[in-house]
């Protein structure tokens, strides 16, 4: 179990690091907002935030308070970047989307402040007992992932139709699908994490196995979407549009 978990974490962090570096490099040339948001999201949530989140399960707040205070800030920053990525790419002109993003940021800020006061109080409760705070933090994170999934898979459905008429490229259609699946895997992991925290079985074998499988799926989608190996792009382009959909 530990080997699978380690492999999953390692794959995910390395893949995210690779894609983040490449995306930062792209951003340095284009100065595009989506590139910056994607690179920041990967860096804050996956490359740095994910291993530090694991570290918080090894050290109590009393042992390492700055770690416990810093992780939510880092994760929130990453999630906000993901929200802005989805907003900018899929709904740049929609007022409702801006309102939802603002509400999600407000919830993250509220959860962060509540978490700060809880941890710095004289008798901080264990994280398993902070259901309200965990919910306030988790809802906007889950929303960010599932919103990205909904937008991506909805757009993927449109692109599939375009593919039949030669109005879309197979590689791009596939990339949108993989992005949707990646955010779906991450969103499911967030929900499972909350359930595990509520039940106090966050580090039990079934949960670790679920996180590991979702982590590998997450890493695979990320890698194939943004750094596809030659054999994969060849395989995609060899398929006719009818097969690809």
């Amino acid at each position: 179990m530990e080997i699978i978990a380690g492999l999953s974490v390692g794959c995910l962090i390395l893949t995210a690091l690779l894609v983040a570096i490449k995306t930062f490099a792209l951003w340095s040339r284009t100065r595009g907002t989506p590139e910056l948001m994607l690179a920041m999201y990967l860096t804050c949530c996956t490359v740095i935030g994910y291993p530090l989140t694991i570290a918080t399960t090894r050290f109590s707040p009393a042992e390492m308070l700055p770690l416990h205070l810093g992780v939510p800030v880092l994760m929130s920053a990453g999630v906000i970047c993901l929200l802005f990525f989805t907003l900018k790419v899929f709904r740049p002109a929609a007022l409702w989307a801006r309102v939802l993003v603002a509400l999600a940021i407000l919830m993250l800020a509220t959860g962060g402040i509540a978490f700060f006061f809880e941890l710095t109080s004289e008798t901080p409760r264990p994280i398993e007992q902070l259901l309200g705070v965990n919910l306030i933090n988790t809802i906007p994170i889950a929303f960010a992932y599932f919103w990205a999934t909904g937008e991506s898979l909805g757009y993927y459905r449109q692109l599939r139709l375009r593919l039949r008429l030669g109005l879309a490229e197979v590689a791009i259609v596939n990339r949108v699908l993989l992005w949707g699946l990646m955010t779906l895997a991450a969103g499911i992991a967030v929900v499972i994490g909350l359930i595990g925290m509520v039940l106090g079985t966050f580090l039990s074998a079934p949960f670790v196995l679920a996180f590991s499988c979702l982590g590998i799926a997450h890493a695979s989608c990320l890698f194939l979407a943004f750094h596809p190996p030659g054999w994969y792009t060849d395989w995609l382009t060899r398929r006719t549009p009818a097969e690809a959909i």
Binding site: G32, P34, L165, A171, W179
Partner: protein, 101 residues
């Protein structure tokens, strides 16, 4: 967000060259481009021309318009004069760029 110039032109041509009313013409174009995975607000002249070449004639036939091929040819010809407005970047353009890192 307003409908694109290509969409408006297609509606105008259908209303002018077929017995369809304004409402029917707009509905027909809207449904046809939706079946192609496109959106009335962002469809470009090139995309509209492909839709006219592949789907519109059949849609018109199903609505009892006999000379659909001629109408589609007229539309494609007139679309040549429509300029693409590059105001909003589409999601597929962003994902194309992100893949070309």
């Amino acid at each position: 967000m307003a409908d694109s110039a290509a969409f408006e032109l297609a509606c105008t041509v259908l209303e002018r060259d077929t017995p369809l009313s304004r409402l029917e013409a707009r509905g027909t174009i809207r449904l046809t481009i939706k079946a192609a995975g496109l959106d009335s607000r962002s469809v470009t002249p090139d995309q509209m021309a492909v839709v006219a070449a592949n789907l519109l004639s059949g849609e018109l036939a199903s609505r009892g318009v006999g000379d659909g091929d001629r109408v589609c040819s007229t539309l494609r010809r007139e679309l040549d004069g429509v300029e693409t407005s590059g105001a909003v970047e589409t999601p597929d353009a962003v994902f194309a760029r992100l893949g070309g890192v």
